[in-house]
C-alpha cells in the first residue's frame, strides 16, 4: 500500500452515516472508494450539487453536469443541483458535517496552508477557505514529510495560511493526530512504525494518547 492509499483509506474511516461531506481533490476524493459498507455519506460539490456519483460512460455525459474539478458526474437518486451562491450558503453556513482537504503544511495550532507557495505556485484558494471555516469538522490530509524528509506537521506553518485554528484532525501516511486547544495528540501510528519514527519525522510538539493505536484499514 503506498502512502497515498494509506492516507485515502484512513480518511475513509472519518465519516458517520448520513453526514454531508465535501472532499477536496486528490487523496480525499480517492477516499470515497474506501468508505465502509453501511456508512452512506452525502457528497457535496462546491460548484453546486449534492448526492452525485462517478463519471458517466462515454456517450452518456451531460454537458451541464460537472464537479468542482470540471469532471463529468452523474446524479444519484435524490441528488440536487443549485447555484454557487446557495452552495456556499451550505458550506459557510455550517451545513457541511465534514470536509477533508489536502494540505501543504499544518501546525499544532490547527492552522493549515494549502493555497499558495509564494513565488512558486499560486493556484488560489478556490472554495477551500470557505470549507475550512464553515465545515463542522475539518480533516487535513497530507504526506507527513516532504521529499527531503522535512516535517510538514509543524510548530507553526511557514506558508500563507488558508485558515487559522480550524483543523480538528490530521491524517498522514505515518500518523493520525487530534487537534484541540491543548495542541496535538497522537492517536494512531501507521503499521510498521514506532512512536520514535513518528517523533523523528514530526516538528510539531504533540502528546501521545494513552491508548495510541495502529492505523488499520
Amino acid at each position: 500500500m503506498n502512502s497515498r492509499e494509506i492516507i485515502a483509506r484512513r480518511i475513509a474511516q472519518e465519516f458517520n452515516d448520513g453526514e454531508v461531506v465535501n472532499l477536496g481533490f486528490g487523496m480525499p476524493t480517492m477516499a470515497a472508494n474506501y468508505i465502509p459498507n453501511g456508512i452512506n455519506v452525502i457528497l457535496q460539490t462546491e460548484n453546486g450539487g449534492l448526492r452525485f456519483g462517478g463519471a458517466p460512460k462515454a456517450g452518456e455525459q451531460n454537458p451541464d453536469l460537472g464537479n468542482a474539478g470540471g469532471e463529468p458526474i452523474t446524479m444519484l437518486p435524490g441528488g440536487s443541483a443549485f447555484d454557487l451562491a446557495f452552495s456556499f450558503c451550505i458550506i459557510r453556513g455550517g451545513h457541511v458535517d465534514a470536509t477533508v482537504l489536502g494540505a501543504l503544511e499544518v501546525d499544532q495550532n490547527g492552522n493549515i496552508a494549502n493555497w499558495k507557495i509564494p513565488g512558486k505556485f499560486v493556484p488560489g484558494m478556490g472554495g477551500g477557505m470557505d470549507l475550512l471555516v464553515g465545515a463542522k469538522k475539518v480533516v487535513a490530509a497530507l504526506a507527513h514529510t516532504d521529499k527531503a524528509g522535512n516535517s510538514k506537521v509543524l510548530k507553526s506553518c511557514t506558508l500563507p495560511l488558508s485558515a487559522a485554528g480550524v483543523v480538528k484532525r490530521i491524517i498522514t501516511d505515518k500518523a493520525v493526530f487530534n487537534v484541540s486547544s491543548k495542541g496535538l495528540e497522537l492517536i494512531e501510528i501507521a503499521p510498521g512504525l514506532t512512536e520514535a519514527d513518528v517523533k523523528a519525522a514530526t516538528e510539531a510538539d504533540y502528546q501521545v494518547a494513552t491508548n495510541v493505536k495502529t492505523m488499520t484499514f
Partner: protein
C-alpha cells in the same frame, strides 16, 4: 425585456477595457460561442470576472481569452487550471485578485441585490485580510468586502423564451444565476430559444427582466459532443 441578437452583434458591444463577468465553472455552464467571438474580435484589456480559470489545461472556455492575452485583470477564486492565466500572473502581465469562492459569489450577489457590503468570517487570519477591512460585528471578527458588478455579464443557460426568461440544467447554473443580476448589460447564450409560455413559472431560474440580449449558441447535442470529446481526451469518462 430581452432582444434576440447574434453572437457577433453582442460580442461587438464589448469594448476594449470593459469589465466582463463570464459564467461557468471550468467550462460547464460557460457561454462558449460568446467567448469564441470575443477571441475573434480580439477585444483587449479586459477585466475578466470568473469564479475559476479555464477548463483544466487551458485553451478551452475562458482559457482562449487568457491564451490570447486579452485579459488585463482577473478576479476570481482559483487560476491553477489555466496555464496562460498562471503564467500571466507569474510574469505580472495579468493582475489577479483572489477571492475565497463564497466571498466572490456573495460580492456579485450583493451588487445585484443592492446590498452595501459582504460580511464574512472566511479569510480571517490569512492574506485575504489585506484585500478587505476587518471589523467586529456582534462580538466576532469578520472581513468586509465591497459588492462586485461589471459592465457586462455574459452568461449561459439551457433555454430562453422570447421574454428572456432563462432555465438551467444540472450544475450549469453555478455563477450564471447570480451574474445575471449584476451586469450593466446582460447577454445570455442559450442552447435553444422557445416560445413564451413554454417554461413553467418555477422552472425559470432567471426572470427575463434581468436579460438584455439572448444569443443562440450551440445546441445541447453539439455541447454534448464538445464536452464528450474534451472529457474523453482527459480520460474522464468511463
Amino acid at each position: 425585456m430581452a432582444e434576440v441578437k447574434t453572437v457577433q452583434e453582442c460580442a461587438s458591444m464589448v469594448a476594449d477595457g470593459a469589465s466582463v463577468m463570464v459564467g461557468g465553472f471550468l467550462g460547464v455552464g460557460a457561454p462558449l460561442q460568446m467567448i469564441d467571438q470575443l477571441v475573434a474580435n480580439g477585444t483587449k484589456e479586459l477585466t475578466l470576472i470568473s469564479v475559476v480559470g479555464s477548463y483544466p489545461g487551458g485553451g478551452f472556455d475562458i482559457g482562449k481569452l487568457t491564451a490570447g492575452k486579452q485579459v488585463k485583470k482577473f478576479i476570481g477564486a482559483h487560476i491553477g487550471t489555466d496555464p496562460a492565466l498562471v503564467s500571466g500572473y507569474n510574469t505580472g502581465e495579468i493582475d489577479v485578485e483572489f477571492n475565497p469562492m463564497g466571498t466572490f459569489i456573495e460580492r456579485i450577489r450583493a451588487a445585484g441585490a443592492g446590498l452595501g457590503a459582504v460580511v464574512t468570517p472566511v479569510g480571517i487570519g490569512t492574506e485575504v485580510e489585506e484585500n478587505a477591512s476587518k471589523q467586529s460585528f456582534y462580538g466576532k471578527d469578520y472581513l468586509v468586502f465591497p459588492p462586485l458588478g461589471a459592465d457586462f455579464a455574459i452568461i449561459k443557460a439551457k433555454k430562453a423564451d422570447h421574454y428572456g426568461n432563462l432555465c438551467y440544467d444540472g450544475t450549469s447554473m453555478n455563477t450564471n444565476t447570480t451574474m445575471a443580476t449584476a451586469g450593466k448589460v446582460v447577454i445570455a447564450e442559450v442552447d435553444e430559444i422557445v416560445e413564451v409560455g413554454t417554461l413553467a413559472p418555477n422552472e425559470i431560474g432567471t426572470p427575463g427582466i434581468f436579460v438584455d440580449y439572448i444569443v443562440k449558441g450551440f445546441s445541447t447535442d453539439e455541447r454534448k459532443a464538445i464536452f464528450g470529446e474534451i472529457w474523453q481526451k482527459g480520460n474522464k469518462l468511463k
